[in-house]
Symmetry: C2
Subunit: 329 residues, 2 copies
């Protein structure tokens, strides 16, 4: 186990980013079409080709998912991923044409100090294509791909991932670009809100603070930025219906609730995609679905903390520090 | 401040229950119609007259909200509350008739040992009427009203409430009938998952365990019961639009995520109603709305722990113990 979402059989992840732009794209490509859905819990989502993921819509399976920086401009990245998949013959057949089905979501990173003068060219389309081509079992966490430009209110955000096995034996993983309006850590301490869910020392092993510091619950938020967003994917090797995948996504949102304070706000686009590759056969009843959802929530909470733990600051004046830069001295 | 949802100006709460039935009803009555919405995060909700709460529906304000035991039978309680309100001239005027607008939600407590042979009479209708008539600023927590029949997997559930003030000065409160498929406490310890949010010693003041016990994350769930549900109301004295009330409800669900493990499962009906009485004037921008939502989540997490902390066991063989009976020795 790599402790990555790619521990789920049939899942590969690739990232591409541009240091000058201070933004990037992460693509999750399925080896074969996967059943998928989503849960949108933020008030300001930015999505492309996501309406089809509702349980009452016709298309059941998709080819890839995209997490991108760039706010609504970043939705171009989906087209780049589609281009890469079309070149290798992937897609849903319609009248002899193959259309790769690729939903995507974006986060707001336009105010992070990077050079955002990409108006004349499809910058995110190119990054999306490169990300899809880079898809592999191993990929880097922290300041990479869709996490390169991500920030929290007080620390650098990033790309995170984690995996686990449910009691029934299904593998579950999470991938997140953590770009929250608030905090992943408690007050001024280095302790993560996600500490109860940590496995080993995957994000420093500090545990819970002996005592909650005064003001630990004081809300610290990016007051001036109108848009922020955590975008995530949870996946399992179980065989789920689309409606069951929806339930998995709803439960996984609880991982964001446990790892971030606050989250799901009016100005957030917080979205969790869910996917089931079906490599593990066997009936998934309500109880097994609940454990898949609960473990997905755990993995997503851990992925958020790992994203922040692994991130390094952007090379711009006034950039927010990475967790290690601030605390590991 | 009573540390109850009735700290929100314009809100009164009443409960009624039947010890032999081991179930009951809690009604929240607004002094004047309040703007309301809801967020449904469980996979098996039981609701009455709730479709109108979506932001795109016409009716903007409601007269009362109902939390009831009795599974789908308990939806009769809404009729009883309407009857009590009609007698005092409350309601939405339609062609000279006054129709009290009263959405409600139920929880599953049919397997808690009580005498459920009420088939021949509208037991919950009567309890609903009595609950509405009892509405007042003071009301009891624990094994009362909709919380009388409630259980978790390992402890008695109950009725809980809490309140707080946002940095902008708005009062926010929460009311919950905690009847979860899982746990509110950590492993075998008396510590609540909601500990970080506790104010004073409102649920025992034990704080967080020095170390998470082995197996703390092992999922403990009511395996045999097909239905469980946490039903809740969050309210504020702020002036919100219906769409803003929806956002408040979505964010408040994070309080359930932080207080319960697991929650929002396939067999849960977890629903949070939200309401704004508008007694406090002033613009609520995205930032103020976010603090209202975040504080509502805190209050709901605290209300869950208070529900469990205050509950006492049902007088039946094999009944689950109350928190104090199990731990406060």
């Amino acid at each position: 186990m790599r402790n990555l979402i790619t521990d789920v059989a049939g899942v590969k992840v690739g990232s591409a980013h541009d240091g000058k732009l201070a933004s990037g794209v992460t693509a999750l490509v399925f080896d074969a079409p996967a059943t998928a859905s989503l849960a949108i819990s933020g008030g300001a989502p930015g999505l492309r080709d996501a309406a089809l993921l509702e349980a009452d819509m016709t298309v059941q399976q998709i080819d890839a998912l995209v997490l991108s920086g760039g706010s609504a401009f970043g939705l171009d990245a989906v087209g780049g991923v589609q281009s890469a998949l079309r070149e290798i013959g992937r897609g849903f057949e319609v009248a002899g044409q193959f259309v790769p089905i690729v939903p995507g979501a974006i986060l707001f990173d336009l105010a992070n100090g990077g050079d955002k003068s990409f108006w004349g060219e499809p910058a995110y389309w190119r990054l999306g294509k490169a990300a899809a081509r880079a898809a592999a079992a191993d990929f880097a966490l922290g300041s990479h791909g869709a996490g390169l430009g991500a920030t929290l209110v007080d620390l650098k955000g990033g790309l995170g991932s984690a995996s686990a096995r449910t009691p029934e034996g299904f593998v579950v993983g999470a991938l997140v670009a953590a770009n929250a309006v608030g905090q992943a850590t408690i007050g001024e301490t280095p302790h993560f809100w996600a500490a109860p869910y940590e496995q080993g020392d995957e994000f420093g092993g500090l545990g819970w603070p002996a005592q909650l510091p005064a003001g630990a619950l004081t809300l610290k938020m990016k007051g001036a930025a109108p848009q922020n967003t955590n975008i995530a994917i949870v996946a399992t090797d179980a065989t789920l219906t689309k409606a069951q995948a929806k339930r998995m996504a709803v439960m996984a949102q609880d991982g964001l609730a446990r790892a971030l304070r606050p989250v799901h706000a009016a100005m957030d686009g917080d979205t969790v995609f869910s996917a089931a590759t079906g490599r593990a056969k066997g009936n998934v009843d309500a109880l097994a679905l609940t454990t898949i959802g609960a473990v997905a929530a755990d993995c997503l909470a851990r992925a958020v903390a790992r994203a922040v733990y692994e991130a390094t600051s952007l090379p711009f004046a006034g950039a927010l520090p990475g967790w290690r830069e601030k605390f590991a001295s």
